[in-house]
């Protein structure tokens, strides 16, 4: 454990995908037996960094990376994961890469099996050799013992609880003879608390044996508890390299979500300007009690909130915590339960039509899947929902018996929004599938605006679009809110964006509202809520609407 002699050092690593910079100038060292925590928001570049380290082909195919990686004092440039494995780097992925129908032992020793010797091998070659199950079992036991846990070596992966699967993955990396560094990407995300504790214990055991560990996690408490050092990434930059002993969750959280001074100043100025408006209204327009939504990957367990007339209400939180489930459940797209009232009257759940008829509209985060008719023109995309729900853009025939679609009205509506939102296209008949991401998003917003909603949900409105389009989308939302008094609920994983336009922001953690803060609250408070800090640690939920 000589800190002067690191086993791995990253020097000025940078990476851009198709001109889109995701990493710049990241440097840090890992000493043998050291546990380094790597933290950052979604999209901060953690996964990309690990892909570079592990030699994933995707890095290579997109033009390699900048900077250098030194492993055991030699510069390495892995071109495939196999080379990284051979050098002694193990990786435990977020998704399980195990074979469900194989046992623990078989998974741990996959492609490294022990064989029985037999005369047939001499004659026919290795392909005829049989497995030496006894040796294999003892080898896998040894790897499992290193973790300090008990796993049944003969259990099928299919039948295991998730925690055991995670342990099997780690044991597989340990099963290699020469492993010196293990990278764990969100290993505790799927574990229960006690399982996570066990895992952290085993990781400490490993580090005591001299194996270096890079630990990636959103659970800051674990990071502080386990790691020797913490590296904070933000927007692809290495923000800070901290000794875990001297830091606090609060400090890490504020570093994770922090921002440059001038951006802060701009946001502060903007929020000051909004101050009087936000405080004026108090009438609750939407009240949600005990909402649950069964949306795969974004389960909402118990959400209570109330949104005031005319405000822009933000919902934030890390991926997978359930923030996306809230609008999808309220708009009837996924099975949901609980009591929801709009203007004091109950809203039927599980029916998109009922939600739309109550003048709620939704710009989905899944633009291509839910938001657009990719094979139809812009005019159809914008006008369709309003046509079906509110009978707009139709001409009644035979005394209203038949409703004839008015292509001209749809086209002029589309032209109007194309001008208003600066949608780059060849005309209202261009197919939505051929538009760029930003312009598709604008079409989605136009669709929602065409409904003239009282309450507008927008989910991840700026995901995957460039900065210019981002500003335009946010400005449009603001303008719409101001001019029509539409209450807007915006869901976004980018806190900075939420703080720049929302009046109040709720943070969702594990399917619940962890707290509701005014946009003026300090960043680290948001960071704490996102990381699921305990209630007593968290600041008072100022402006909370429950």
């Amino acid at each position: 454990m000589d800190p002067a002699k690191p086993i791995l050092s990253l020097r000025n690593i940078g990476k851009a995908f198709y001109g889109n910079r995701v990493l710049a100038d990241v440097s840090f060292d890992v000493a043998p037996g050291e546990i380094v925590g790597l933290v950052g928001e979604n999209g901060a570049g953690k996964s990309t960094l690990m892909k570079i380290l592990f030699g994933m082909p995707v890095i290579h195919e997109t033009g390699g990376y900048e900077g250098a990686i030194l492993f055991e004092d030699r510069e390495v440039r892995f071109r495939t994961p196999f080379e990284a494995l051979d050098a002694g780097i193990g990786m435990v992925h977020q998704e399980f890469s195990l074979i469900p129908g194989f046992t623990t032992t078989e998974n741990i020793l996959l492609n490294r099996e022990s064989f029985n010797n037999s005369i047939l091998i001499d004659i026919f070659g290795k392909r005829i050799s049989t497995l030496d199950r006894m040796t294999m079992e003892s080898r896998s036991k040894k790897a499992i013992d290193k973790l300090g846990i008990t796993l049944d070596p003969r259990m099928l992966v299919r039948e295991m609880p998730v925690g055991h699967k995670q342990f099997t993955e780690i044991a597989r990396e340990l099963g290699r003879e020469n492993v010196k560094l293990i990278v764990l990407d969100e290993p505790t995300a799927v574990l229960t608390e006690s399982e996570a504790e066990t895992l952290l214990g085993s990781l400490r055991t490993l580090s005591a044996e001299g194996i270096a560990i890079i630990f990636i996690s959103h659970r800051l408490r674990e990071v502080v508890e386990l790691c020797d050092r913490v590296v904070v990434l933000r927007d692809g930059h290495n923000i800070k390299d901290l000794a875990a002993r001297t830091t606090s969750i609060k400090e890490i959280a504020s570093l994770m979500v922090g921002r440059t001074m001038e951006a802060q100043a701009r946001i502060d100025a903007e929020s000051a300007a909004r101050e009087e408006k936000a405080s004026g209204d108090g009438e609750p327009v939407l009240t949600v009690e005990n909402l649950w939504v069964d949306m795969p990957g974004e389960t909402v367990r118990n959400v209570n909130l109330s949104v005031r007339q005319g405000e822009i209400f933000g919902i934030g939180g890390l991926a997978g915590q359930g923030k996306l489930g809230i609008p999808n459940g309220l708009m009837g797209l996924y099975p949901a339960g609980g009591s929801v009232t709009l203007h004091g009257e109950p809203v039927a759940l599980n029916s998109p039509r009922a939600a739309l008829e109550r003048r709620m509209a939704f710009g989905s985060e899944d633009r291509r899947g839910v938001g657009l008719l990719l094979d139809e023109g812009i005019d159809w995309n914008i006008a369709f929902t309003a046509m079906q729900v509110q009978d707009k853009y139709v001409t009644p025939l035979l005394g209203g018996l038949l409703k004839w679609r008015s292509d001209a009205a749809m086209s002029s509506l589309a032209t109007e929004y194309i001008k208003l939102l600066e949608i780059r296209c060849t005309g209202p008949r261009q197919r939505a599938g051929t538009l760029s991401g930003g312009n598709q998003q604008k079409v989605c917003l136009a669709k929602a605006f065409a409904l003239r909603p009282d309450l507008l949900f927008v989910s991840e409105p700026t995901r995957g679009i460039d900065i210019g389009a981002k500003h335009l989308v946010l400005d449009t939302l603001k303008k719409y809110n101001r001019e029509y008094g539409t209450t807007i609920i915006m869901i976004s994983s980018e806190l900075e964006e939420l703080r720049s336009i929302c009046d109040r922001i709720a943070i969702v953690y594990e399917g619940r509202i962890e707290g509701i803060l005014p946009h003026t609250a300090p960043v680290e408070d948001f960071g704490l809520l996102m990381a699921g800090a305990d209630k007593d640690e968290a600041p008072a939920t100022a402006g909370g609407g429950n």
Partner: protein, 347 residues
Amino acid sequence: MEGIKRFIADFGLPRVIITFYLLALFLAAPLVGVSLPASISDSLIRIGMNGIMVLAMVPMIQSGCGLNFGLSLGVIAGLLGATLSIEFGFAGVLGFVVAIGISQVFGAVFGYGYGKLLNRVKGGEMMIATYVGFSSVMIMSIAWLIMPYKSPTMIWGFGGEGLRTTISVEGFWRHILDDFLAVRIGDSFKFPTGAILVFVLVAVLIWAFFHLKLGTAVTAVGSNATYARASGINVNRMRIISVMMSTMLGGLGILVFEQSFGFIQLYEGPLYMAFPAVAAILIGGASVNKATLVHVFIGTALYQGILTMTPAIFNAVLKVDMSDVIRIIVSNGMILYALTRKTKVAK
């Protein structure tokens, strides 16, 4: 040159080849002693006969249910209409109208059940549809035998029970559309005005349907069912509507076919009605989830044109009667080709 290239890319090289092949057949006809007017007339008659069954494909394709391989179900509704109309003793225009009326009632009922079934097998519609087609034909094969039909023109001469395999509609409504306002030039050319008119009329009705609010919703369901659901559309209901339309059009289609053909073909007759219609619309340039009326017109003209012309020319050249063999080779070959290109939409 660029323009030609783009045109070929848009229109599809195979379709260009098929078109030129058809033109070549028409040009070759006089050289090998086949009457050109008769050939054109035959082609037109066949287009009129088959056009509505090709149109029947459109609603289900538009709603995302895929190609209606279960068209036989609609054909059976048409056969029920035809036989019941004769059984009740109606003839002439009235007989044909009654047949259509009955077929539409059966088509609606069958289509509703068929649609319900297809809603349970989303993603595998076309395979299930094929089996629905086959099994309904087999069930009806039993039913034709045991249903209490009495009309002597239809039941077996011996025994006096059960319907014959082939029933002539002569004296009822044979050529009732083909001869309506028919234009005759010389001995061999006849333009089947009535049948073509009905084809165009039904096409206009379908065009109109897809310009209604309801038709727009059906199209959106086919384009992106999740989008439609998020817009408050009852996706299953739209799909059932499209399947009912398709089945009812199948019933109408077979009646138009029979009045021209002159016979009602029962038992296994409906079995092979779906494939030519599927092939025609695919050759016309439709894909499994997008079809327009232009695809129907082009496809019907190309498919039926080749089917009429190829055997005639080949027979004349080879001097042997191989028409049926060639017809089967050509039609199945085109079906095979059409099915391989079912995903790309042409303009």
